[in-house]
């Protein structure tokens, strides 16, 4: 009985490791696809059209402070964005 239990425990651990490996592989493939197809394509199109997502240019201004005119609405605090 003990040996069977031990065998089942090892089998379960092996299966779990295998499942983790499969999950990692799928994640890797998905992330590759998202990065190179999703991020990559959008980024290339944006660069071609001169769109920037970050303020990385160094155009000197009189002040770098950006005024905040709008106050957040109460309902906005219930949103994650």
């Amino acid at each position: 009985m003990g040996m069977v239990k031990e065998f089942l425990k090892s089998l379960r651990e092996g299966m779990k490791q295998f499942a983790d490996m499969v999950a990692d592989s799928v994640n890797l493939l998905l992330l590759l696809a998202v990065y190179f197809v999703g991020i990559g394509l959008v980024s290339i199109v944006a660069k071609l059209s001169g769109k920037h997502f970050l303020d990385i240019g160094r155009q000197s201004r009189q002040s770098y402070w950006q005024k905040i005119e709008k106050r957040p609405e109460r309902n906005s605090f219930y949103r994650m964005f």
Partner: protein, 580 residues
């Protein structure tokens, strides 16, 4: 109304609970999990807060989270879109955690603590601002927040009036003073989000020789606004903080744990001077636009005590408040108070005058732990014999572990989980470093002084402000006392003092006074009760374990005095854990 504040998933996760606008409890998760800067969901900290209030999660009316996850994800995605394909590695390493937890807070709250009601998401810098203003004694104050980055904001100016807190101006990612300081921290071979205070300590040894060169990496205007020259940085797309160009300009980066040269010290000094210059400009501008002479300061940069100690001298501000956990861990506090005062429009009635909001242990619990563990101890019969006995031990240069009352909120040990020793012994710094802390010799130890005597020994502001109670101000030690308290006088003649008031912590205050009566100096060395690489101790067991693994001579818990020499030193060896 109960509001549970939560901050997590970046660094230093924490939780707090407020009831009808009064703080009930607050703690960082690292103290329970024993993982330094633990950023995981703060299970244990939440459980402690609820237990302290004597409620379960069903009694919590609202949860307030310290940032807006989708807005932050928007910034992360923007970084990858802008920096493709250079952002490849961070994308692979960071993205899974966004989908598994950071964007699934509601699900995590439901599954892990059974919370199913509304969640409020307070923007990161608004949480910082609220964490200082709403618990300050000020009815009206200018509010400055500076850190690495929140969602998009890295710096904000604002004003608080009564229940209202308004942001007036912002600077957004990637332009960040916090990230600039962190980049120099990394360049000097220290850990980002962990070792910034080491750069502060190192600055005292250097001359600002690189100041003019450093100005190339940041464009600063008269109003203190700034823009980084991103050619010198890689934090917005890579795993390193600074780029090759930074090394071409300043020389090769220091490798961790290698020798620290004069160049490194000068670089640290230059960074500190530059930071101070910029923040003085920002503060002057903030005063100009608000015309209020009280300042609330929050965000990780507000933990720069060297800067804080000079603020009054260089800016028009006359009063200042900095909350003990001004960094990200304190975001939960701001989120909860913002929800209560600004979102639910409730009046203010709370001022955070001390930092003791963590767990405490009763005499009976301590005694049971000692008896169950077979630990030899003695119990002082009364307060006077305790004070006289321990003061004598400190005077004789023994190192005392001190666990009393509720644990501190924030990164500093303030007399609840502290190591105390004799500041008048010139060898004490070396003794502490060798026997206990295993830390770099250039880092100074902090003096704890009774508040009314602070000006006698330190050249501080005329009225020493409340942040000094939280060890957030560095002042010069008066020249005639420097050689009398050498163990707490830094190489540049300064000390990061903690002022102690009796109403905050009577036994700690009396201890300092008792030592003063013996030595002539009502000052103690107060350093955090931990070894390098571990969080500050929380429980009696943590404290005993720390003592037995180090050279701490005695541990005082409540009135129980435990001598290391009386107990078997077979608990563990701290040396193998002594790393950052």
């Amino acid at each position: 109304m109960y509001i549970l504040g939560i901050s997590c998933f970046y660094h230093d996760s924490g939780a707090c609970l407020i009831k009808d606008g009064q703080l009930v409890a607050a703690a960082l998760e690292e103290r329970f999990s024993r993982k330094k800067h633990d950023f995981s969901f703060p299970h244990a900290a939440i459980a402690f807060c609820l237990e302290e209030a004597g409620i379960d999660i069903s009694a919590v009316d609202h949860v307030a989270f310290y940032e807006k996850p989708v807005l932050k994800f928007d910034r992360i995605l923007s970084q990858h879109l802008e920096m493709f394909p250079r952002s490849f590695l961070p994308f692979f390493l960071a993205l899974p955690s966004w989908f598994n937890e950071k964007l699934r807070l509601r699900r995590i709250l439901r599954k892990k603590i059974g919370y199913r009601k509304n969640v409020l998401y307070i923007p990161h810098h608004l949480s910082h601002a609220a964490s200082a203003f709403y618990v300050s004694p000020f009815e009206e104050a200018a509010v400055l927040t500076l850190d690495g980055a929140g969602e998009w904001q890295t710096s904000t100016l604002g004003i608080g009036r009564g229940q209202q807190l308004q942001q007036l101006a912002e600077i957004n990612f990637p332009h960040s003073l916090g990230l600039l300081y962190s980049a120099v921290t990394a360049y000097l071979g220290f850990k980002v989000n962990n070792d910034e205070y080491k750069v502060m300590g190192l600055a005292g040894y250097g001359k600002p020789r690189y100041l003019e060169k450093l100005r190339k990496v940041i464009d600063v205007k008269d109003d203190g606004s700034f823009a980084l020259n991103l050619e010198y940085f890689s934090f917005h797309y890579g795993m390193r903080m600074f780029s090759k160009k930074f090394e071409e300009e300043f020389g090769p980066a220091r490798k961790p744990e290698t020798e620290i040269s004069q160049d490194h010290q000068d670089m640290a000094a230059s960074m500190q001077v530059l930071l101070e210059e910029i923040i003085f400009k920002i503060c002057r501008h903030l005063y100009e636009i608000t015309k209020v002479d009280k300042l609330c300061f929050a965000g990780g940069v507000a933990l720069n005590s060297l800067l804080n100690g000079k603020l009054f001298k260089h800016t028009p501000f006359k009063e200042i408040y900095i909350q003990p956990e001004a960094g990200d861990g304190g975001g939960c506090l701001g989120a909860a108070f913002y929800a209560y005062h600004a979102v639910f429009d409730q009046p203010r009635s709370f001022v955070m005058e001390h930092a003791y909001w963590g767990p405490q242990y009763t005499r009976a619990e301590m005694k049971q732990f000692l008896d169950d563990s077979g630990i030899k101890y003695k119990e002082y019969a009364d307060e006077n014999s305790l004070l006289a006995g321990v003061a004598k031990l400190i005077k004789d240069s023994f190192v005392i572990g001190w666990l009393q009352g509720r644990m501190e909120w924030g990164p500093r040990a303030l007399g609840a989980r502290s190591i105390l020793s004799n500041p008048t012994n010139p060898k004490m710094q070396e003794i502490l470093n060798v026997k206990v802390k295993h830390r770099e010799p250039f880092r100074p130890f902090a003096p704890a002084v009774t508040a009314e005597k602070a000006n006698e020994y330190f050249q501080g502001d005329e009225v020493v402000p409340m942040p000094a109670d939280f060890m957030l101000m560095v002042y010069p030690v008066r020249p005639d006392h420097r050689d009398k308290i050498p163990a707490v006088t830094h190489v540049d003649g300064t000390g990061r003092l903690q002022t102690v008031r009796r109403k905050q912590n009577p036994r700690y205050y009396d201890m300092i006074k008792a030592f003063g009566e013996l030595s002539g100096y009502p000052i103690l060395i107060n350093t955090s009760f931990n070894i390098r690489g571990e969080p500050i101790v929380c429980t009696p067991r943590d404290a005993y374990r720390c003592m037995m693994g180090t050279g701490i001579d005695y541990l005082l818990m409540d009135k129980f005095l435990i001598a290391r020499a009386d107990n078997p030193n077979d608990m563990w060896d701290s040396e193998q854990y002594a790393h950052d």
